[in-house]
Amino acid sequence: MNLWRVELLHLLRTWRGWTLSGVFLLASLLAVLIGFLIHRSSGSSFTYDQTLDLYMLFAWPALLLWTGIAASSFAIDSNKERSVFLRLRFSLAEILISKSIFYFALAGTLWLAGFAITFFLGLVIFDGSHQISLRWFLWGLFFFLISGIFNTSLILFCGALFRGAVASVLVVIGLSLGLPIIASLLVFLELLIRGLTDTPPVEWETVSYVARVLVWWPPSTYDAIVFMSVTPSEIAANANISIGQALDLDPYFRIKPLVASVISVPAMALFAWHRYVRREI
């Protein structure tokens, strides 16, 4: 028995693992179902890459659930006695590294499994004549992994801020979900005040001052996962169409949050390490 197996058993023997897997699977099935309904009602050709775009949207709640589960697991000192058991037998580095790698790998595996299920079901049910560009898929995957690394570091950081699991979970979810919602509201208010409400959402980043700041927020790298479903026709048009929104096929689309992630991840990890080491039990 080692720390990796403990984390795995924690998921398999409690509601956490099954619920999380179920929500990712649900996102996948929902994407196919909604795609099927759109296909039937509009009568137009619905392609499997559009199903993948839907999956990326529906996987959001599953990622939030993952965030909550991971954040509560990182709150190692929330139960004093269990913390004593772990800290007396394993170094803090062993505990934190095993948790970080485990939860990062878990989110990646489940998300990609859901993606694969959607991909194969989409290929069978919908128009599969287009091929996804491997080059753009890998670029999107890279941004997805960076987003996962940032989220894991954010959870580690919040786990170090508070002893209690509840406070840690709330702050992580507040930052992951609340901050973009508040910022989007501010963008809308700014556009309203400046009389620019007709601006399409894809252009907000070039028009709104708030949006220009928000684009540096590291989790924005997740937006670039739309590159994972780019088809040859989209490459020819030099635009990626995802859920009705057309984006320029620019590989540097999310370079600003990528830079912010590269800076903030080690900073948060160092801060967390310092706090965990100095904490008395």
């Binding site: 028995m1 080692n2 139960n79 006695e81 004593v84 007396l88 039990i281």
Partner: protein, 237 residues
Amino acid sequence: MTIILNISDLTKQFGEVRALDEFNLQLEQGTVHGLVGPNGAGKTTLLSILVGLRRKTHGDIQYAVPESRLALLPDTPDFFPFLTTREVVDLARYPFRDRVDVSTVDKVIAEVGLEEAVDRRVGGFSRGMKQRLGLATVLISEPEVLLLDEPCSALDPFGRREVLDLISGLKRKTTVLFSTHILSDVESVCDSMTVMNEGRVLYDGPIDAFTNSDTQSFEDSVLDLLTTDSNNALAEK
């Protein structure tokens, strides 16, 4: 006799409160040493500092053994409820897997009397069972210095007897520092003891030398010492 643990002038300050005040202690190898004192005397703080869970304010602690040969059983041990008894003890063995064989897991579980619950998840365990399991998790590491924080507090009289026999059986093989409220346990198991109050040492020496009077029991002598100290402290204030 080899001194395995030497504590000198150990002080721990929590804001205005001094939990340990120039505390001194020497532990001889292979002995069972009792740590006696009322609630808030500083016993748990001392044990926490000895294993690095808390930081000392000042003072010196010297061990004659490596850190890996030291084990602490907290007063209310708790474990991951989704693991079974065997898995918990095996997890506790993991850091020492080079020198402790996996077959030792079942042996230690039997030693603490949990063989019937070996494949049961620990989530439903009573406090007494958790305390036995806690003992198994420290014994599996084959420690040279064993720090026990009130190991019998949740046990019934039979369980208490078993644990005390277990501690007696460790004599000469392992050095045990044993904190407890139950004075009769100290009298029956320990070779020496430290009586402490408000972080200070009131008595440190062999059990036999503690009671000089034939008429006064061991328990009354300890209570007398603690009452006199509390009264003196109150008078000073």
